[in-house]
Symmetry: D2
Subunit: 346 residues, 4 copies
């Protein structure tokens, strides 16, 4: 069985386990106040060229999103997202669970634009409606697309003008930054975003996301909020170890590049086979649209996610690659699809 | 430096890391739907003699508490706890953050009694007050004390009569069950509690708590709540691995017994030296009351928590042992205290 | 100045003030436990032909909605509404403030259909998404449209099949039931809805909405929830007086009929003048689409709400009638519009 | 039957009904944006000598408390109250329902002191505990006691030093300010409190509490919060009418003085009869402690609240007077108690 189900199926990169093993029974300070977390945070600050940034580690993306958004908003304030945004669809109402409405715009390719944001601001005029106060976007998005520097800058400027916080969900940030066509860098983010997180779980970490607050005075009590919402890990040093390893010798980017390369090979093969795609996705998620009749056969040897019914005869699936995806797996999948074409037909 | 700060300073028991290493790049199903979690849950069901129980894994105790309590209560319902209870003091209002009041009774030794619970029920008479609906207790408690089978049974019976859920916080359940004088077993819990959790973080796990719902029809949608409150780990199999290892060959109890034995040796030494204690604590936490003047000297070689000022001249400290506490550490601490006695005096 | 701004601009029908005056300094029991509330509830039970229904009074619609919805749902559950629904647009996120997501379907005329509801159910498949658990609809809707008995019955049946509660927001229920073409009666509601409220504020009451729970065992603790969410009025008898008067000698329906008749005359006039409308609205709200250039002139003598920009040259306005709208006001408005047509042009 | 049950049993002072009747079918702007609310707010600003204060009207005390407290606090912040405080006991967890913990100190006479507040601050030391951020106190208190200017000033100064907001619940503010021994004035409050409310419901209003924010920049979005929490009344002008009348010709203070005078006569009589009291209460609530055997007999002709069992043989009751309490009622009650003494004995 070859795995294209997601990018968090494997335990972690071996270097992380090796480092954890080296800890043995060393006694470390609790709740992220240890030296390893401090070192990891420093490496992140260096990587993003923002020496004053506050860095906090949490165990997962939904947790990061709900904790950050709720920390920034007052009860009557709302967050703007693409309708396909993770917080809107796939977090079981976690943001609403902290009391805040998610305002959405239909975004065909998963990306927000200034026009969408302005329209929401324009139609929220008084105290009988929630006040838009934050923009949430994912890079790469839930549809595998990415933001260019110009696009993110335009949103940043609009947010500044409108008094909106800009929050970037970087669950798949590595895949975005290593994608073909990307012109954003880690160092751009502290300048363009009020808060963002660097995803570990989906890029080789055992677990962990690094929440970055470029201007720490924005959220001075963030550790209170972490604990209040159940997001402070007793053994915080585990998260520190993950990010310390990932941000040593550029491993974070190397792993993301590996995932993207596997996806690029897969994409090239699919295009060669004239398989249509839901979106032009340059990162580590592809959304080919296949005849329904192929699905069963492909499932015999490959795991992947059913994204939705595109039309009565066609199903959109999600193929996700990771640092651990082998060339063999990519080749096998392309071969299998070719076989479907020749044996089953469209 | 010898560590008595807490029981979650070390990474984990080596068997867990070994098992994680063996996973290599095996692709596992996400969010706890993998086979390892299933196997771990089965081992727990066997250990507690409750084949029908639902078992869910979360990353920490505060998370377990807020998720369980909020899942059981309606908005206007409240949970009863000892005033020293973890949910009342040390969770930054996480339970209130989900909308529920914590009703407390002063409990000198950290233990709730039927009389305390009845008094709270008696004084909450109508819809102008919250409705008490759950009893929360910790075993072992935040003061290192434990419940006897008779005590827990009496509370269980009162809860049944009053229509209260009984929830046992087992962050240090192993230490309770291995403590001198304990007569409770794992198999008693599903019969006496509506929901409880078996703590991994403080008993050798890398991370993880196992929430057990003996009658799953009580909370059929628990996985929705897990996700809604940010408590569903993408790589749920990590938690499965921890509990699978801990519930193989009785490792969970062995590690707890080691922690308790270290505490027992320490306690015997302290009693021999006539050091007074805050409570008669048989598990892995001791609360000696020391002259203020000793603290600085002890801190040079030992880590521990300052619990509070007992009187102007005396400080209560918390000494916690774990499966990793060495005999050497215990002896060193006792020697150091003896030196304080002879050099500094009371 | 003639008022078409809304249907809650006047203090109340004189019979209510008269009844309040008659109370003088009579001492009444607090929090709705008085005899007047009991009498009013009985009259409502008779009017809806549901002797076992629980009836609770609150001061406003947003309060009714957030209290009812939150009382019915568990934290991870969501409510389905038309995108134009009051809870989605005009309540400043009150429902989300109690922790619940509002799932919406685009509804051109403000009305939900079984197809829309089924589509939302179909795409909410697992615990990574909120669970749809309630359908919220307004009759009459925010666009002045109404549900037929067949339409409401179809939604009722779908809800029963899907395990969804059906909640009808009756802020303008009177106007719906007295509208031309309506075939629903008060007595249909307890059979078709799990909970609904009969709006007083917008139909002649000084203040008050009557929440009706046909099967009281659905929400046995509703008074706790009322208090918990700030919705229990100390002088609950005020609300009782309002509904006791309104449900005596059919006054409630008479007032609604008066409002609808004024709207019908206005509508007939607008159609005669070939003024286009946003929706075919038979109740007490009309949404004519006017050239932008008319707005300023009309505002000199009439109050109304700007609903939105229909296209760059046309504005949609909302004209609302009430029991207190005079024929003179209707005539004056029609004359003024005719003057705009002749003097300004389209 | 003579009423000593509470101070909100009567509809309202006749002047308010008269003023409401005079409105007839005048169309007023909704949601408190009308001229009457503006006029009432101005009169309140004059009465408190604070021309810049923001004044908002809500329908009840629990609503005022939950809306104000939640508006001021971030999720992890808590409010300090006396254990007898209304928010802690009699609001069905409304404050916790907005996510905030209520930290309490045992206060025998219902009054907080700087020592109590300091102790709570002292023991809340880090991010594992909620952060105390507001002090809530009631004047007069739930036990009928009042704060002196020196006491309130001392708390004010401590709050300023500790960075705590000071919020005064004035549900019975009139009764406090007219009580024997009181040296506070309305004009002191804006200087000493960050936010407070002037209670109407319990002092002759039909309904309504006036929330005052002396420095409006503290809560610029308060109207959003009002709506978000269900506290914005469509016919806000009703509340405006109440306060406009009450703050014309000093009626507010006159009504409070009447209530206090009735209580003072009652208290003098009780002391003459050597009836013991729970607290030395100078305002409009008295808490005599009576032999259990008297209760049934007194209940035949008087309404009052049972406050609690003082000891197995004695019951504490609450006697509340209002502007509508007659001398005849006071005399009748004193006579009845005297009869209990002579006929039944202690």
């Amino acid at each position: 069985m070859y795995a294209f189900q997601n990018d968090y199926s494997e335990c972690c990169h071996p270097a992380i386990l090796k480092r954890l093993s080296a800890l043995e029974t060393e006694a470390l300070s609790g709740y992220g106040t240890d030296g390893i977390c401090a070192a990891a945070a420093n490496k992140i600050r260096q990587a993003i060229c923002c020496p004053q940034a506050a860095v906090h580690f949490v165990t997962g993306g939904t947790q990061a999103n709900m904790i950050v958004i709720d920390a920034c908003l007052r009860p009557w304030e709302a967050v703007i997202a693409a309708d396909s945004g993770h917080i809107n669809v796939h977090e079981t109402g976690a943001v609403e669970g902290t009391g805040h409405k998610v305002l959405t715009a239909p975004a065909k390719d998963g990306k927000l634009t200034p026009v969408m944001i302005e329209e929401i601001c324009r139609t929220h005029t008084d105290e009988h409606m929630v006040r838009p106060r934050m923009v949430y976007l994912s890079d790469s998005t839930e549809l595998g697309t990415i933001y260019s520097k110009a696009e993110l800058t335009a949103i940043h400027e609009l947010c500044r003008d409108k008094g909106l916080y800009l929050f970037l969900d970087g669950a798949r940030l590595g895949a975005a930054l290593c994608a073909e066509g990307n012109d954003l860098t880690l160092a751009d983010l502290p300048r363009l975003c009020d808060v963002f997180y660097i995803g570990g779980t989906k890029n080789g970490a055992m677990l962990g996301e690094a929440v970055v607050i470029p201007n720490p005075s924005l959220l001075p009590d963030f550790r209170y909020q972490l604990k209040h919402r159940g997001g402070m890990l007793a053994k915080g040093f585990l998260l520190g170890v993950n990010f310390d390893v990932l941000f040593t010798d550029n491993l974070y980017m190397q792993l993301a590049a590996k995932a993207d390369q596997a996806a690029a090979r897969l994409k090239a093969g699919l295009l060669r086979l004239h398989v249509p795609m839901l979106a032009d996705a340059p990162a580590n998620q592809l959304f080919p649209i296949l005849p329904n009749s192929w699905i069963g056969q492909l499932r015999q040897n490959f795991t992947f996610e059913i994204w939705g019914q595109n039309d009565p005869e066609h199903t959109c699936i999600r193929l996700t690659t990771s640092w651990a995806t082998s060339s063999e797996a990519v080749d096998a999948l392309l071969t299998a699809i070719e076989e479907c074409q020749s044996q089953i037909g469209q």
